[in-house]
Symmetry: C2
Subunit: 227 residues, 2 copies
């Protein structure tokens, strides 16, 4: 450890007074820890990426950081419903970082149009380059590989993780009487289509979702849409 920097005299109101702290950390504790803390500070921006999903109390929409915490808790609670043999630790690590790319690429609504979806992959890949690139090489590559695995949704762990990622906003819509669905003119057919992948992770949870879609239509919370 070195002594505190005597060079920097910026006041607390000077925004430049903290930007050089990564250098201070590198000098005191090494480049590796400095890079890791730079990543930790950078990803704070996930808390500002607002989704289309209302909180259960309807007071505001949730952000990506809250969403991520919620569905990780769901994964722990609902792990028993996974059809395949899932490594919960891997699924949790995948979920932890699955939305980080939205810091640069923004949130793409599950029911967005084809144009927005078409550019989504490119925007997210560029974001992954930048964000995971902040970390020490082997650590960035490890998290990047987990994100790629989540996006490919081929492994059992990724499929269960995606099941949680779809189920969480669905439950929010169900338990707010369909605020988000009706605001965006989403129909039951569209919801059934987007929720069909839940069956890849859990037949029981998919059956429940189908039941709750019918229930939401019967209650007038979700338009039936074209038959």
């Amino acid at each position: 450890m070195t002594t505190p920097s005597q060079l920097s005299t910026g006041s607390a109101d000077d925004p430049t007074a903290v930007n050089d702290l990564f250098d201070v950390i590198a000098e005191a504790a090494g480049e590796r820890l400095s890079a890791q803390i730079r990543f930790i500070i950078e990803i704070d921006k996930l808390k500002g990426i607002v989704r289309q999903t209302p909180l259960i109390d309807g007071s505001r929409n949730e952000n990506d950081a809250e969403h991520t915490w919620h569905l990780m808790t769901m994964a722990v609670i609902l792990a028993e419903f996974a059809d395949a043999d899932v490594d919960l630790t891997r699924a949790l690590r995948m979920l932890l970082i699955h939305d980080l790319v939205e810091i640069d690429a923004g949130d793409t609504f599950l029911y967005a149009n084809a144009e927005a979806k078409a550019t989504q992959a490119v925007r997210e890949r560029t974001a992954a380059d930048r964000l995971f690139g902040l970390l020490p090489d082997e650590q960035g590559q490890e998290l990047r590989a987990l994100w790629e695995e989540f996006e490919a949704h081929k492994s059992a762990d990724a499929r269960f993780a995606r099941t949680m990622d779809r189920l969480q906003p669905f439950l929010h819509n169900v338990f707010t009487g369909g605020i988000g669905w009706r605001k965006h003119g989403v129909t039951a057919d569209q919801v059934r289509d987007r929720m069909s992948v839940i069956a890849d992770g859990s037949a029981d949870l998919h059956a429940l979702v189908e039941h709750l879609i019918d229930e939401a239509v019967a209650r007038g919370h979700l338009p039936a849409g074209a038959a």
Copy 2:
């Protein structure tokens, strides 16, 4: 699966139109899954528990759900700095639920007075009874035990988890030029005292924290306090 309830005809604007959905779920998918979803819906309230920690961009204070996601990510990134052999999966599960009791008990500021701290344990224990009690028995007991372990901070996993829980708001204060510290009149002596437990989890991270406290004092972001 049964057919959707024909009894409920509440409109989307009727707040009672969703309260009976737990019964609908129980009938369709069993009491166990219904209880689990009740817990999942209830803990959404963690997103409304606002902390004393500013976001890095200073735009607002963060809430418990965001805080939890952030420090879980930190635990994955900084696991290599744990002095003891830590089971990261257990530490992550502990962190996931460590602040749930604040849904009922509220957030107790790390630098709160003795009176607030004295009632904190009782309030949080009552909250744990209610919240973990929503889950199926063995699942609720398992998470309750993890929370008790975190609170006791005796195991290596709990000590590392607590290290992250202290380091996260500390970094937010450092990288916002001490907004939170100065707002609450916190001094360097107090910060050193509260951060001392980081040494129980990681000597390297504790050394960095001490260095950054000195740096913050040198920059005028943190009052030195009584010598």
